[in-house]
C-alpha cells in the first residue's frame, strides 16, 4: 500500500521526467529544422535518457492512482520543473559545447531537487526512492562532464549562418 506522500512524490517525478523529455524532443526537432544537426542529435539523446527515466518512474506507478495535480499546481523551485531546459538559453546557432553545458545544468538541478525532496521527507519510501533518483541524475551529470572534456569549447553562435536574420541594407 503506497502512502499519499509517496504517490505525490511519484506524481512529481513523472511530471519532472515527462516535461524534461518533451522539452528535449521539442528542442531537438527545432534544431534539426534549423539545420543544427549536431545539437539536434545531442538533444535527441537527452530526450531518450529522460524517456528511460520516465519509463522507470512509470513502472513504480503501475497500479497506483496518482493525485490529479494540474501542471501549474506543482511547486517547483523555479517556474518549470528542474530538468526542463529554459527557452531563454537556446539559439539555433548554439554550439554542442553550450548545449551540453545546458543539459549538465539540468541534470544537476534534477539531482538537487530529488536530494532536497528526500531531505525534507519523513516517509522512508520517499526518502529511498528520491535518493535513488538523485544518484541516477548524478551519474548522468558525471557522464556529461566526461563527454564535455572531449568537446571543443566553441563560443555561442559560432556556427555559420546560412541565412542571416537581418534586414536588407
Amino acid at each position: 500500500m503506497m502512502t499519499d506522500t509517496y504517490l505525490t512524490f511519484l506524481a512529481y517525478s513523472t511530471e519532472l521526467e515527462q516535461e524534461s523529455q518533451e522539452r528535449y524532443l521539442e528542442i531537438a526537432e527545432s534544431m534539426a529544422t534549423h539545420g543544427n544537426d549536431e545539437v539536434a542529435g545531442f538533444f535527441h539523446r537527452m530526450a531518450d535518457e529522460a524517456g528511460n527515466h520516465l519509463a522507470e518512474v512509470s513502472l513504480l506507478c503501475e497500479g497506483a492512482e496518482l493525485p490529479p495535480i494540474k501542471a501549474w499546481e506543482f511547486q517547483w523551485p523555479d517556474a518549470e520543473p528542474p530538468e526542463t531546459t529554459s527557452y531563454e538559453a537556446l539559439h539555433y546557432r548554439m554550439s554542442l559545447h553550450d548545449a551540453m553545458t545546458l543539459a549538465l545544468a539540468n541534470e544537476r538541478a534534477a539531482e538537487q531537487f530529488y536530494r532536497d525532496y528526500a531531505h525534507n521527507s519523513t516517509d522512508a519510501e520517499v526518502i529511498n526512492t528520491a535518493n535513488e533518483f538523485a544518484d541516477e541524475e548524478k551519474s548522468h551529470a558525471q557522464a556529461l562532464e566526461l563527454m564535455l572534456e572531449d568537446v571543443p569549447v566553441v563560443s555561442e553562435l559560432a556556427r555559420e549562418e546560412d541565412d542571416p536574420p537581418m534586414m536588407p541594407e
Binding site: E22, A71, W72, A79, M166
Partner: protein, 279 residues
C-alpha cells in the same frame, strides 16, 4: 468529456512540427495551450483556434483541434463571427503584436468593446518576427535592432493592457513565455470567464530581439487580487513597467450578443455558406 479528461497535453499536439526558431517564446504558448486543454478536458471537436499572420499566428496548425489561419490582423473578426454563429464552441483567437496591435488594432479595440465570449492571446515580442525584425507598435522607443529604424522607432510603445481596459475588456491578464505553467493557468481561467478575456503574453523573439532573454530577471508577479475598478486598473496600466504578470483586472459585464444565436440555426447558416464556397 470523460474521454478527454484522460488526455495528456501532448495528445493535443498535431503531427505538424513547429518551424519556430529554437527558444522562441511562442513554443511556450503552444505548450500552455495544450496543458490548459488537458487540464480542462477540452473536447478537440468543440475547440477552434483562430489566428492572423505572423510567426505566432502559425500556432493553430500545431494543435489538434479545429483551426483557422486567417488574414493578417483579422483573426479577431473571424473568431467573433464564429462564436456568435456557434456559441457552443470554445473559441481562442491568437496572434502577434504586429497582427493584433498594428494592422489588427482596430479589431482589437472593438473586440474589447463588444465583449463576445472568446479568449484572445496576444503573443507580444515587440517585433515583426516573421518579416525579419521590423519595429512593431510595442517596440521600445529606442530599440535600434532594425536597420529600418536604426535610431529606434522614436515613438512611444502601445500599452496593450491600458488599451484593452479603455476599450472595455472585462478580463485582462499578462503572462511570460519563461513560465508556460502560469500561462496555462491564466488560459484555463480565461476560458472559464464569461466574456472577452485578453491574455497578453510577453513572448520572446530570440532571433531578432535577443535582449529579451533578460525578461526573466525583470518580470514580477502581480500578487494582489485582480483589480475590479477601472480607474484603479487605469492607474496601474499607465504607470507600471509592463512586466507584471498574473490576472490584473476582472470585472464581468454583459456579453454580446445578449442572446447567443441558437446552435441549430447557426448550423443551417454554415451549411448555406459551405455551399457558396463550393461553387
Amino acid at each position: 468529456m470523460n474521454e478527454s479528461l484522460a488526455m495528456k497535453p501532448r495528445d493535443y499536439k498535431s503531427g505538424i512540427k513547429p518551424i519556430w526558431c529554437p527558444g522562441c517564446g511562442h513554443f511556450s504558448v503552444l505548450n500552455a495551450i495544450t496543458k490548459a486543454a488537458a487540464a480542462c478536458g477540452l473536447a478537440k471537436d468543440d475547440t477552434v483556434l483562430v489566428s492572423g499572420i505572423g510567426c505566432s499566428s502559425r500556432l493553430p496548425a500545431y494543435v489538434d483541434s479545429y483551426g483557422f489561419h486567417g488574414v493578417h490582423g483579422r483573426g479577431l473578426a473571424v473568431a467573433q463571427g464564429l462564436k456568435v454563429a456557434r456559441p457552443d464552441l470554445t473559441v481562442i483567437a491568437l496572434g502577434g503584436d504586429g497582427d493584433g496591435f498594428s494592422i489588427g488594432g482596430n479589431h482589437f479595440m472593438h473586440a474589447c468593446r463588444r465583449n463576445v465570449n472568446i479568449t484572445y492571446i496576444a503573443m507580444d515580442n515587440e517585433v515583426y518576427g516573421m518579416t525579419k525584425g521590423q519595429a512593431s507598435p510595442t517596440s521600445p522607443e529606442d530599440w535600434e535592432g532594425s536597420k529600418l529604424t536604426p535610431h529606434g522607432p522614436g515613438v512611444r510603445p502601445f500599452k496593450p493592457a491600458a488599451m484593452a481596459l479603455a476599450s472595455g475588456a472585462p478580463w485582462i491578464a499578462r503572462g511570460y513565455s519563461g513560465n508556460p505553467n502560469q500561462i496555462a493557468r491564466l488560459l484555463a481561467e480565461a476560458m472559464a470567464f464569461p466574456g472577452f478575456s485578453f491574455l497578453h503574453v510577453l513572448s520572446q523573439c530570440i532571433t531578432f530581439c535577443p535582449q529579451q532573454t533578460d525578461w526573466k530577471a525583470i518580470v514580477s508577479d502581480f500578487e494582489e487580487e485582480p483589480l475590479s475598478r477601472a480607474d484603479e486598473a487605469a492607474a496601474l496600466f499607465l504607470s507600471e513597467d509592463g512586466f507584471k504578470t498574473g490576472l490584473l483586472y476582472r470585472e464581468p459585464r454583459a456579453i454580446w450578443p445578449p442572446e447567443a444565436a441558437p446552435a441549430e440555426d447557426a448550423k443551417l447558416v454554415l451549411r448555406d455558406l459551405a455551399s457558396v464556397f463550393q461553387r
